[in-house]
Symmetry: C2
Subunit: 206 residues, 2 copies
C-alpha cells in the first residue's frame, strides 16, 4: 500500500483504541499534576513529564491546558450523570437509586479522577466552557433532587427539603477531593459503601 493510500485509509480499530487509551492517560496525568501543583501552576511540560513524553506529544490530543481541564470536567460530569440513568434502570426505590449514584460518584472521584481538584477549578475555564459545565452540574443536581423528591413522595424518605439534602450529599462527595489520597488507608469501595449508607440512611431514618 502506498503512503498516500495509507493516509486515505480509515484509522484501524487498533489505532483508535490506542489513541483513546493515550488520551485517557493524558487526562489522568493532568489531574494528578493539577492536584499536586494546583491548576494554575501546572504547565503542559509537567503533564507530559508525568507520562515520560515531550509536551509536543500532547498537542495531537489537546490544543492547550484549558482544553484538558475542560475535557476532565465534561467527561467526569458525563460519567456521573450516566450513573443516574443506570440507577433508574437497575433499581426501583429512591433509596437504592440514591445509594447507587453516591457509590458511583465516589468511584469517579477516587478512581477515575484520582482524588482530583475538579470540583474546585471551574473558574479557570473560559467563559463558554464554564457556562456549559455549570449547566451540566445543575442538571446533575436536579437529577439528585428528583430522586430525593421521589423518595419523599413514596413515603420512603422523611419530608426533608430536597435541595438541602442534595447539597449535603454533593458536599460530602466533592470534599473527597480535599482529603482523599490514593496511597492512603481509605479504599474507594469501602468509602462509597459507607457514604451511601450514611447519606441515604439519614434520609430514611425516623
Amino acid at each position: 500500500m502506498s503512503r498516500a493510500a495509507a493516509a486515505r485509509s480509515p484509522v484501524s480499530p487498533h489505532v483508535r483504541e490506542k489513541r483513546r487509551r493515550r488520551r485517557e492517560e493524558i487526562l489522568h496525568a493532568a489531574l494528578r499534576a493539577f492536584r499536586d501543583r494546583g491548576y494554575h501552576a501546572t504547565t503542559l511540560e509537567d503533564i507530559a513529564g508525568g507520562l515520560g513524553v515531550r509536551s509536543t506529544a500532547l498537542y495531537h490530543y489537546f490544543p492547550d491546558k484549558e482544553a484538558i481541564l475542560y475535557a476532565c470536567h465534561r467527561e467526569g460530569l458525563a460519567d456521573v450523570h450516566a450513573r443516574v440513568a443506570d440507577a433508574r434502570a437497575r433499581h426501583a426505590t429512591a433509596g437504592e437509586r440514591l445509594a447507587h449514584v453516591i457509590r458511583e460518584h465516589v468511584r469517579v472521584m477516587t478512581e477515575t479522577l484520582e482524588g482530583s481538584t475538579l470540583a474546585f477549578e471551574v473558574s479557570a475555564l473560559d467563559a463558554a466552557h464554564q457556562a456549559e459545565i455549570i449547566a451540566a452540574r445543575d442538571r446533575y443536581e436536579r437529577a439528585l433532587r428528583s430522586i430525593i423528591a421521589q423518595g419523599i413522595a413514596d413515603g420512603e424518605f422523611r419530608p426533608v427539603n430536597p435541595k438541602i439534602a442534595a447539597f449535603a450529599i454533593l458536599g460530602a462527595i466533592n470534599w473527597i477531593a480535599r482529603w482523599y489520597r490514593p496511597e492512603g488507608s481509605v479504599h474507594p469501595p469501602a468509602l462509597g459503601a459507607q457514604f451511601a449508607e450514611h447519606l441515604v440512611g439519614g434520609l430514611t431514618c425516623r
Copy 2:
C-alpha cells in the same frame, strides 16, 4: 483631665466594646468581599468601602489583608471548637453531641461567617499562620471523630469508620460556603436542623 492623663488612663469598657464591635464589622465586611470577589482580588479599599470608611481606618485593627484572613480563620475555628465543649457539657449521648456540633457549625458557616469562602483559602495564609490553622482544623476533626467513636463504643452508632464519617459531615458543612447565599430561600436554623438529622440519623439508623 489633661490630654496626657487621658492617654495614660485605661480604656473604658464602653470604648473597648465599641472597638470589639468595629473589629467584628471589619471581619464580616472582609468575608463578604472575599466571597464576592475572591480573596486575591479583594483590596483593603474594597473591605473599607463595604463599611463606608477609608482603608486607613482599618490599620488601627489589622496591619494587612492576610492578618484579616488569619483572624477570620482563627476565630471561626475557635468558635466551632468551643461548641464541641458545649456539646459535651450539655448532652450525654454521642448522637445529641454530634447534632449540637453540626447545628452550631452550620450557624457559624451561615450567620457569623456569612456563607464565607473560609474553608477554601488556607493557602493564602503565610506559612506560620497556615500551619497554626491546619493544626486547629486537625484538632477539630479529631474532636468530631472522637464523638463518633464514642457513639460506636456505646452501641448508639453503627460500626462505621469514624474518619470517613467525620469527613462526610465536614464536607457537607464546608460545601455550604459554595452554594449558600444569605438572601436565598434557605434559612440557617432549618439548614442546621436538617443537616443534623440527616448526618446523625445516617449513623444511628440500621
